[in-house]
């Protein structure tokens, strides 16, 4: 086993272990923290694959953005420090089954399709990603990029509309 494989297995064990802890722990805040560690582990896996840009984006979006939002909403709920109720037996069985089915599906896909490892090093630079993102020709992502931007813009405008204070009529003039 090479050093690279050892690192891979350590990272995978870290991701899976913290993921299991995140769904089994009794305190909701701790579960958010375990989720955070799991996501950091995924970012570590990207660093191991030497795709630093994706790793940084993983950290910015998931760790710095989504987990912080989750933690904020936990803080704003009542009784965030209390232990959660034990899940019922039926729920436990159902979740274990769904995990098994998901695993079986993924394993089946990987086993049957026989993905080949690429020999030559993965070529990426930020410049290349940027150019391809705004390219209109073949393999360009200009259209999806713009569509996603418009979606995000619409979401932001919607947020502002919901959050805006409606002023009394006489003060508008």
């Amino acid at each position: 086993m090479t050093a690279s494989q050892v690192i891979f297995y350590i990272l995978s064990a870290f991701i899976l272990g913290t993921a299991v802890l995140s769904v089994t722990t009794a305190k909701i805040f701790r579960s958010a923290i375990w989720l955070l560690f799991s996501l950091i582990g995924v970012a570590g896996l990207y660093f191991w694959l030497e795709v630093e840009f994706i790793a940084a984006v993983q950290i910015v979006v998931y760790v710095g953005g989504i987990v912080v939002l989750i933690i904020f909403s936990i803080f704003l709920t009542q009784q965030s420090g209390k232990e959660m109720l034990k899940a019922s037996m039926l729920r436990n069985i159902a979740s274990i089954l769904s995990v098994l089915f998901g695993f079986a599906l993924t394993y089946n896909l990987i086993y049957n399709n026989n993905f080949q490892a690429k020999d030559k090093p993965f070529d990426w630079t930020v410049n290349k990603i940027g150019t391809q993102m705004l390219e209109t020709g073949e393999n360009g992502y200009a259209l999806p990029f713009e569509v996603v931007s418009i979606l995000l813009l619409a979401a932001m405008v919607g947020c502002i509309v919901i959050a805006i204070k409606s002023k009394p009529e006489e003060k508008n003039g």
Partner: protein
């Protein structure tokens, strides 16, 4: 002349000649780790001393002056006191997270140092994404603060943590825009490329007014991101006793305290790298006597000098301005800094396209 670059290269050569495959790398890891821990200890001692002296001078006091010559060993004595103090864990606290939080904050402050270029050719990891690495990792540090605030089981700590979270999340935006201004001009995220692009003049001189605006916005945003006064709502001692680290004592408190100062160092080093040319000496024109004199000053001194100048400016802010209210804080970010930095970014882009900068 022996430079840090040569020393680092010689060690690398020597290790590669004398050891088998994985060992040079592991030994280099160990050396770099030791250097970073040493740097941390030194930064803690020096910056806290500097803060106390600067604050004393600005308030017409003398500052610490009893322990050692002009009080230089005061912080060492304080550290010794903190080491022997008992690290209490309050009864209702979530013990695991409570004890984990200071280490998270500390580790993040360590990791964030990796791409910094301390002198010519002296860099731990010239990662491709450079400045993006800074913004990515620094966004994690808020988690440590939230964790500390929640695990303390204390309403002041929780309030401090929430304020800190809101503050860091919002000021990250304008700091990011200010960094992007330089990225647009350089065309690369790599720290070494950014530093090399300033060999013929620092960006603050080459970039006209938009870069000045970006620099001011950057300084304001990083002051807020490191929870320093006037943006120290997270630990506002008159309202929340000490915010998220109210319940911490002994070495665990010292880790938070140290992490704050190391974060200041890191953001100031980043500011010096982006705007003030990193280790590049000050040059005017080409081939003048002045330039040659400037080249005699070692590059590490240039880097440290610029960084400590920016640290002094941030301390100057702290001891001049009163603390902002939370609504003023959010107004400043969302109504002033963000729109201005967005328009500024457009100006910088125009400048880069038209080639108006030097």
């Amino acid at each position: 002349m022996p430079s840090l670059e040569n020393i680092a290269n010689n060690i690398h050569q020597w290790l590669n000649n004398n050891f088998g495959a994985p060992w040079p790398m592991l030994i280099e890891f160990a050396i770099v780790g030791l250097c970073i821990i040493g740097l941390f200890a030194m930064l803690g001692l020096v910056l806290i001393m500097m803060e106390r002296k600067v604050s004393a001078w600005m308030q017409l006091r003398l500052g610490p002056n009893r322990v050692g010559p002009v009080g230089m060993f005061q912080t060492a004595a304080d550290t010794l006191k903190l080491i022997v103090k008992e690290g209490m864990t309050p009864a209702g606290a979530d013990k695991f997270l409570f004890n984990l939080a200071p280490f998270i904050v500390m580790i993040i402050a360590m990791v964030i140092m990796a791409p910094l270029m301390f002198a010519k050719g002296l860099q731990m990891w010239d990662v491709n994404i450079g400045v993006l690495f800074f913004t990515a990792i620094s966004s994690v540090s808020v988690i440590g603060i939230l964790m500390a605030g929640w695990a303390s089981n204390n309403k002041y700590s929780l309030l401090g943590a929430m304020r800190s979270g809101a503050q860091i999340v919002s000021y990250e935006l304008s700091a990011g825009f200010a960094i992007l201004a330089i990225v647009i001009l350089t065309g690369d995220l790599k720290i070494s490329t950014i530093v090399n692009s300033q060999a013929d003049g620092w960006w603050i001189f080459k970039g006209h007014l938009p870069i000045w605006i970006a620099f001011v916005i950057f300084m304001i945003a990083v002051t807020a991101e490191t929870n320093r006064a006037p943006f120290d709502l997270a630990e506002a001692e008159s309202e929340l006793t000490a915010g998220f680290h109210t319940e911490y004592s002994g070495m665990k408190f010292a880790l938070f305290f140290l992490a704050e100062y190391v974060n200041i160092f890191v953001v100031c080093a980043l500011g010096a790298t982006l705007f003030l040319g990193g280790w590049q000496p000050l040059h005017f024109g080409t081939d003048t006597q002045f330039n040659q004199w400037m080249d005699y000053i070692p590059s590490s001194l240039w880097f440290m000098g610029k960084t400590f100048f920016l640290i002094f400016v941030i301390m100057w802010f702290r001891w001049t301005f009163p603390r902002l209210r939370i609504d003023q804080l959010l107004n400043l970010e969302w109504k002033y800094l963000l729109p201005i930095s967005m328009i500024n970014l457009l100006l910088v882009t125009l400048m880069a396209i038209m080639g108006w900068h030097f």
